[in-house]
Amino acid sequence: MPKPILTIKNLTKTYGQNVIFQNLDLTVNEGDTIVIIGPSGTGKSTLLRCVNLLTRPNEGQIWLDDLEITAKGTDEDQVRQHIGMVFQNFLLFNHLTALGNVKLGLTRVKHLSDEEATEKALHELSRVGLADRADHYPGQLSGGQQQRVGIARALAMDPRVMLFDEPTSALDPELIGEVLEVMRKLALDGMTMLVVTHEMGFAREVADRIVFMEKGYIVEEGSPDEMFNHPKFDRTREFLWKITELYGKKEKEAE
């Protein structure tokens, strides 16, 4: 019996008159990699922000393991420790080195000693292949390196689940590969991941399930084989055709 780590029920988010998404249900089981795809502006990023309590849903519930994190009086900071988040534009702390970025949560939130934090942070940096860049500042790193530091920063907190918000969209094409490689390795290591991305190659190869969202609704979800080869809905087929066509071209050009 798979154990659900993240359970989303009936989730609705609106900004004024704008409905971002409505009555959303989603379950993420332990060790699963779920990839959310869909046109931009369909509320995928907002969904991740809701899960991390960076924004509050209007209705519905979210459970992390057995804890309802949307309940009133939840300690948000406590919850966020257990949910790692990787941002589209990295959002490294500009005034701290790579090591400092990874250490900050360890010393200030987990209250590790400086030595423990350094050791742990170096370990996480080496997991993403950047141990030799520990003393570099964000401004001295490439985009791909910055994003890998961002991943290490989130990993260092030993999260139950990792959220990726279009982690490669802001990267030059030649830097995307190194980030996807790190994510692939994480998935193989059994990390539970919820990924918003347009990288269809990654989705096809790594995802346990693919969720197709459009206009605030989940249109269809299934295994990569089901979604790519036998989608139930025309809209899914259309979107996938468009995006693989487009991205396929780009990939060929890049070669």
């Binding site: 960076l54 900071d77 900050l104 200030r108 401004g139």
Partner: protein, 214 residues
């Protein structure tokens, strides 16, 4: 009296000028920073109050505000002209320094705050460890400008009878009937103080700048 004595009499006012500045500037920074934190993170009501403070205090000529505060303080507590003048000048500067700190806080984008919260830092921790260290660096150039203004404005306490550079220049000018020389000497000393301060803060800015490869 030779020129050496003449000059050293005026220059000895530097102690007071520097003293006034070293009280007014940090006092203004302390008040300004606290108010800026309220302005940016204190919700709408606080922001409105702070905006009012800023608009009114920056709308009144410094010398007028200095006189109001000086006489109000002197009425309440028995303070020397030096202390009352310095602290009043600090309050005058606080509104300007609040705007400097606020500008710096706002230009460290909300994204940095969000990223810090995502790691699990509390709001206070995020402000303390992520926003402020970056804001301080951004604030140095405009703050350097404000420091120069406070040094120059410290000459206003001359009107309160504090024996600073300008006051001494006036006194010795009167006794020697050499006003031009006296005030020119004062100008040179002020100029050196302002240049030195600006240069030191430039140096600090470079020292604190975050390395990056363009």
């Amino acid at each position: 009296m030779d020129f050496g004595q003449f000059l050293s009499y005026i220059a000895s006012g530097t102690v007071y000028t520097v003293g006034v500045t070293l009280i007014a500037l940090p006092a203004g920074l302390l008040i300004g920073t606290i108010l800026a934190l309220f302005y940016v993170y204190g919700g709408k009501a606080a922001a409105r109050v702070m905006n009012l403070y800023s608009t009114i205090f920056r709308g009144i000529p410094p010398v007028v505000l200095l006189f109001i505060l000086f006489f109000a303080v002197s009425k309440g507590i028995n303070l020397s002209a030096f202390w009352a003048g310095s602290l009043s000048l600090g309050v005058v500067s606080s509104a300007y320094q609040m705007e400097i700190v606020r500008g710096a806080l706002l230009s460290v984008s909300g994204d940095q705050l969000m990223a810090a919260r995502a790691v699990g830092l509390s709001r206070m921790q995020a402000i303390r460890y992520v926003v402020l260290p970056q804001a301080v660096r951004l604030a140095i150039p405009p703050w350097s400008n404000e420091a120069a203004i406070v040094i120059k404005d410290s000459s206003l306490v001359y009107a309160l009878g504090v024996p600073e550079i300008l006051r001494r220049a006036q006194l010795i000018g009167a006794s020697s009937q050499q006003y031009l020389l006296a005030y020119l000497s004062a100008a040179v000393i002020y100029f050196l103080l302002v240049s030195l301060t600006t240069r030191m803060l430039n140096h600090l800015e470079q020292k604190l700048s975050i390395p990056s490869n363009p």
